[in-house]
Amino acid sequence: MSKETWKELTIGTINLDAGNSVKNLTGTWRSGKKPEFIEENCIQCFFCWLYCPHFAILVKDGEVKGINYDYCTGCGICSVECPSKEKSIVMVKEEIELAGGSKK
């Protein structure tokens, strides 16, 4: 995405493209860990949905269905807060590709 020069910006930090934060894929911030959803353990309490700071819990037909990795930063809050007997969200290792092509 090409970004504006200072001369092209709207006065006073005003953003006329309200809601454009959907273009900000915060999922690119994940660095080595991601949450994994285990549907059979889930009691549909929605704690994860409530606590997730990035609105990255996928909900369909009124039920938690998984994670939206475009926005999930891998912070792990959902996993910590999940109250089901056996955790319904666990953090797992995720291989990420670095800019040079090497893996971490």
């Binding site: 970004k3 504006e4 020069t5 200072w6 001369k7 910006l9 709207t10 006065i11 006073g12 930090t13 005003i14 953003n15 006329l16 309200a18 809601g19």
Partner: protein, 393 residues
């Protein structure tokens, strides 16, 4: 009709507010600016103004209300001083960063500690990097005139930057002066109708005001903010001229007093400039070729114009009513010394700090400075670049 009235500085500001009748006044009273806020509240209670008057729980909140109201699309003003301005601190930067043309009257007062209620420029000088335009007044008439012009400057589409108008605490804020109060309708017409840019009350437009910027946008937004204040000089000049045509008192970036053939020069702002003029008259009658340069606009600093005015003199003394501990001189001095750097031929220059916490500066003190300047002009040498006036040593 233009009328002569006997008013103090605070009353002249309140009088201008009554005439301009901004949409919102949000202010918290603090000495020595309290009477501005009090009088506006009275005007509101008496039905003389129709705008909202909000008195929140602190100056921080007062500036926050100003920011909210200005973002919504209103013409907004406030008044404060000293600790009040200090408490507004973070909000001052936000007002400037959001390019909101808020106008503030500041009854300049010292900062604690030690606590003191009297006049010096520590408060506004401390805010000199906040992005606000700063205009200083020599007396009540100038405070009134500057305050009216401030709206035109702040609201100009090329500028859209908040403006503060300084009037020395007590010396101006509480001293009576016979001033020309201009006709209500004429003042209203001069200030004109306010047209907000992207007001939040325009609910048909989807927008965000003041979102977070990361490393990729903050710098560009800051650069564009700087452009606003850098666009101000031609506007300040045009507004000052138009004010002169309309009301008979013209304003520029600074005033030169008996500078035509001056060999030495004293630079001093605000009320002390009045005393300095008397000293200069006495010195001139003794045949001394001395003049005064009284800066009016401190931000944006008219560096080139001031340097041009001073470059031919043989010695300059810059008098600051604030200090900048640990810096190479007080604020006005560093600006002027730096402005002269580009000139091959430039006068030797010295700095005097005076009047902190309201300490008097009298004609005899200016005469002392003049004597020292005469010696520097003779020898071309500065022995001590920093001095303190009327301090027990």
């Amino acid at each position: 009709m233009s009328t002569l009235k006997t008013l103090n500085g605070n009353q002249t500001i309140a009088e201008a507010v009554r005439q301009i009748d901004p949409d919102v006044v949000a202010a918290y009273p603090i000495t020595p600016s309290t009477a501005i806020v009090e009088t506006i509240a009275k005007f509101r209670a008496d039905g003389l103004i129709s705008g909202e008057f909000v008195c929140p729980e602190s100056e921080h909140s007062a500036m926050s209300v100003c920011i909210g109201a200005a973002s919504a699309g209103g013409r907004v003003m406030t008044a404060t001083a000293s600790q009040g301005l200090a408490l507004m601190w973070e909000m001052l930067y936000i007002a400037a960063g959001l390019r909101l043309p808020i106008v503030a009257a500041i009854a300049n007062r010292s900062l604690s500690a030690p606590i003191n209620i009297h006049g010096d420029h520590s408060d506004t000088m401390g805010a000199r990097d906040s992005g606000w335009i700063q205009i200083y007044s020599e007396g009540c008439q100038e405070a009134y005139d500057n305050f009216i012009q401030a709206f035109r400057i702040a609201e100009h589409l090329d500028v859209r930057t908040p403006v503060l108008v300084g009037l020395d605490g007590f010396i101006i804020s509480h001293s009576l002066e016979v001033i020309q109060v201009e006709d209500d309708a004429k003042v209203k017409k001069f200030v004109g109708e306010y047209k907000p840019v992207y007001p939040l009350f325009d609910t048909d437009r989807k927008m965000t005001v003041g979102p977070i910027d990361f490393t990729d946008y903050y710098f560009e937004h800051k650069r564009s903010q700087i452009e606003g204040i850098e666009n101000a000089p031609p506007v300040i000049e045009a507004v000052g001229k138009e004010f002169g045509k309309t009301f008979g008192r013209e304003y520029g970036f600074f005033e030169e007093y008996r500078m035509d053939d001056a060999e030495t020069c004293i630079v001093v702002m605000s009320s002390a400039a009045g005393t300095c003029k008397d000293a200069i008259d006495e010195l001139r009658s003794e045949g001394k070729k001395i003049g005064l340069l009284k800066p009016r606009v401190f931000r944006p600093f008219p560096h080139q114009k001031i340097a041009e005015a001073l470059k031919k003199t043989k010695a300059v003394a810059v008098l600051d009513r604030s200090s900048s501990p640990g810096a190479f001189g007080a604020p006005l001095f560093t600006e002027i010394r730096s402005a002269l750097y580009d000139y091959q031929e430039r006068p030797p220059i010295v700095n005097y700090v005076y009047g902190l916490g309201g300490r008097d500066i009298m004609v005899e003190h200016f005469k002392d400075v003049a004597q020292k300047l005469e010696k520097i002009a003779e020898t071309g040498k500065v022995e001590e670049w920093l001095g303190y006036i009327n301090l027990r040593e």
